[in-house]
């Protein structure tokens, strides 16, 4: 029976195992990519209701588009600020929770709560809490004399992006905390014990032992979170819709706008390819540098 079949059809060959995956990826990843490349050389002509070939026009437009420049600056600000805050906060909280003491297991479980809330729902939740009239955060900021409630957070140019970032930071700091906690729990105990005996300060132990030993964990956290931060869409969509003006247009949101509102399918596709190139290059460099392995 087995001999009568072509060799690549039998279970000893990887092909039958990988076939469903390859088929899926061809149809839903390779094809969309190719379609995007095709679209990037075309543009939807509203008058003709069809795609027209435009050559390199969309690609050249990338260099002169001030809105794109604006979106990239916002994207990088958003990614860098959120990532930094999440890493620092996540690390500190992980240090705090890293103990075998009773009750800390419950806290660790509570920290996974934020991960299961749809980001769109989180966005709505924070939109309400930042509302100047009845929002809890706006109220607390006024009580602390940081910000008057007369300034609506999400409708003020300088503050809108920070308002969105609060939601992202709230939702994903636990993610980093949990990753760091797992990393810390897996560290060998001996170096820490001898360091304590030698009279090293907590600060020294953290900077000389914990952080270097967690470098791989940090790299993985930066990789995964960085990719997602760079693709941010949900929070922007529900909280500010890119506003006020174009103050919170991230690259994903700008791409979506081009596609859905302006009907610039070709340029939208070009923008999405640009995002893909940036993420891919950055991620590949990080994976190579940090030697992350799968």
């Amino acid at each position: 029976m087995r001999l009568s079949m072509p060799r690549f059809m039998i279970s000893e060959h990887p092909f039958p195992w990988l076939f469903p995956l390859i088929a899926m990826l061809l149809v839903f990843a390779v094809f969309p990519l190719a379609y995007n490349i095709y679209l990037s050389f075309h543009e939807f002509a509203i008058a003709k209701r069809s795609l027209v070939f435009v050559g390199w026009e969309n690609w050249l437009k990338l260099f002169s588009d001030t809105r794109l420049y604006n979106a990239l600056v916002i994207n990088i600000t958003y990614t860098v600020v959120c990532l930094t805050v999440q890493l620092v906060l996540g690390f500190l909280i992980a240090l705090l929770l890293d103990t075998d003491e009773k009750g800390f297991g419950v806290m660790r479980a509570l920290f996974s709560l934020a991960l299961v809330i749809p980001p769109a729902v989180t966005g709505m939740m924070f939109k309400m809490m930042e509302d100047p009239q009845f929002g809890m955060i706006a109220w607390a900021l006024e009580k602390l004399h940081i910000l008057s409630r007369e300034v609506p957070i999400l409708a003020t140019s300088e503050l809108a992006l920070a308002g969105v970032m609060i939601a992202d930071i709230w939702q994903w700091t636990p993610f980093i905390t949990l990753i760091f906690l797992a990393g810390m729990r897996g560290l060998p105990k001996e170096p820490f014990e001898s360091a304590v005996i030698d009279g090293a300060s907590q600060w020294k132990i953290t900077t000389r032992f914990t952080i270097p030993m967690l470098s791989k964990v940090i790299a993985v956290a930066v990789l995964i979170r960085g990719i997602d931060l760079f693709r941010t869409f949900d929070y922007i969509y529900v909280m500010t819709s890119g506003g006020p003006g174009i103050q919170t247009y991230t690259l994903s949101f700008y791409t979506w706008k081009q596609f859905a509102t302006s009907l610039k399918w070709g340029y939208g596709a070009t923008l999405s390819l640009l995002a893909l190139i940036i993420i891919n290059v950055a991620a590949t460099v990080l994976i190579k540098l940090a030697k992350i392995k799968w």
């Binding site: 000893e12 060959h13 990887p14 195992w17 990988l18 469903p20 995956l21 899926m24 839903f28 990843a29 969309p32 379609y35 679209l39 705090l96 103990t99 009750g103 806290m107 509570l110 920290f111 996974s112 709560l113 934020a114 991960l115 299961v116 809330i117 749809p118 980001p119 769109a120 729902v121 709505m124 939740m125 309400m128 009239q133 009845f134 809890m136 109220w139 709230w170 993610f175 949990l178 906690l181 797992a182 990393g183 304590v196 993985v220 956290a221 693709r231 869409f233 949900d234 969509y237 994903s252 791409t255 939208g268 596709a269 995002a275 893909l276 993420i279 891919n280 991620a283 392995k293 799968w294």
Partner: protein, 295 residues
């Protein structure tokens, strides 16, 4: 090792941090059971309010807020109009999340087995290719899919969204399952092969039975990511179906936002996902890092 004072300080501090983190969720739960008069006041009423199940009734049982406010003599005062009955949206969410989870776990289990057990040329490149699918911005996939779905009739269908979510979860599922399968020592395969077992038999008799928890953990995470996904549903559906995350944005009406109903739907959707994630606590971090960090 540490003094009692430091220990107590640490416990107190840890609880303060944890409760601060949980506070927005708690607040949100109170919004789902507070009447408007208790919602739109400052300082926020976190404990002292009269609870009501009106929003849950409206969202889950289709008892219209108008009827309720007549019964309760207008005390409800819903802000905004529109549709609040959300069980069909929950059903859509379940169909899509369950459907895509079954599909992705099936595909990924087979592929992960080959990547973990059978050696072939360019294996590393193949793994990297799968990983780079994770870097695709959803919008880059959604635009071509939207245009294609329109022509092949998958637009605004459950199947269309299920397929999109399946692809979205492929990198996570394949890489995570591969990391689980790698835990089974290759010597076992070698012994089985000497005894005349085929790879199919190794898969059926060794890998599947020993890796049940790993597969379950993968399924749970895929379920959650499909359950919370927003952009594909937004772009690939119109009126036929809506999942919970997209349905929440529909509570924003021209006459105001129905915060109570929105919160009730959010809470109803949160409960199953949270129970699921508690079941896989042990493998959570491994899953969140796509198998690159083991606990």
């Amino acid at each position: 090792m540490y003094s009692l004072k430091t220990r107590i300080l640490r416990i107190v501090l840890a609880w303060v941090v944890t409760l601060t983190m949980v506070l927005p969720i708690y607040f949100w739960i109170t919004v789902s059971i507070k009447r408007d008069k208790d919602v739109f006041v400052l300082p926020p009423k976190l404990f002292r309010f009269e609870p009501t199940a009106d929003y849950f009734k409206a969202v889950l049982l289709d008892i219209s807020p108008v009827e309720q406010s007549i019964e309760s003599r207008g005390a409800l005062g819903f802000s905004g109009g529109g549709i609040t009955y959300m069980v069909p949206r929950l059903v859509d969410s379940i169909i899509i999340a369950v459907g895509s989870t079954i599909l992705v776990v099936t595909i990924a289990t087979l592929a992960a087995f080959a990547l973990s057990r059978i050696h072939f040329r360019a294996q590393h490149h193949f793994v990297y290719l799968i990983l780079s699918t994770r870097m695709l911005p959803p919008v880059a996939v959604a635009i071509p899919l939207f245009l294609t779905y329109k022509t092949v009739g998958l637009y605004d269908t459950h199947l269309g969204v299920i397929l999109a979510h399946t692809v979205m979860n492929i990198p996570l599922a394949v890489l995570l399952l591969k990391s689980f399968f790698d835990d089974v020592p290759l010597e076992i395969d070698e012994a089985a092969i000497i005894d005349g077992a085929t790879y199919w038999e190794i898969f059926r008799r060794i890998i599947l039975p020993t890796m049940r928890t790993g597969i379950a953990a993968t399924a749970v995470l895929c379920f959650i990511f499909s359950w919370t996904e927003f952009l594909f549903v937004l772009m690939l559906t119109a009126t036929g179906l809506k999942t919970v995350p997209v349905a929440t944005s529909a509570f924003v009406t021209s006459t105001g936002t129905q915060w109570g109903s929105l919160a009730a739907l959010g809470v109803a959707a949160l409960i199953p996902a949270f129970i699921f994630i508690l079941l896989v606590q042990k493998n959570l971090v491994r899953g969140l890092t796509m198998g690159s960090l083991k606990q």
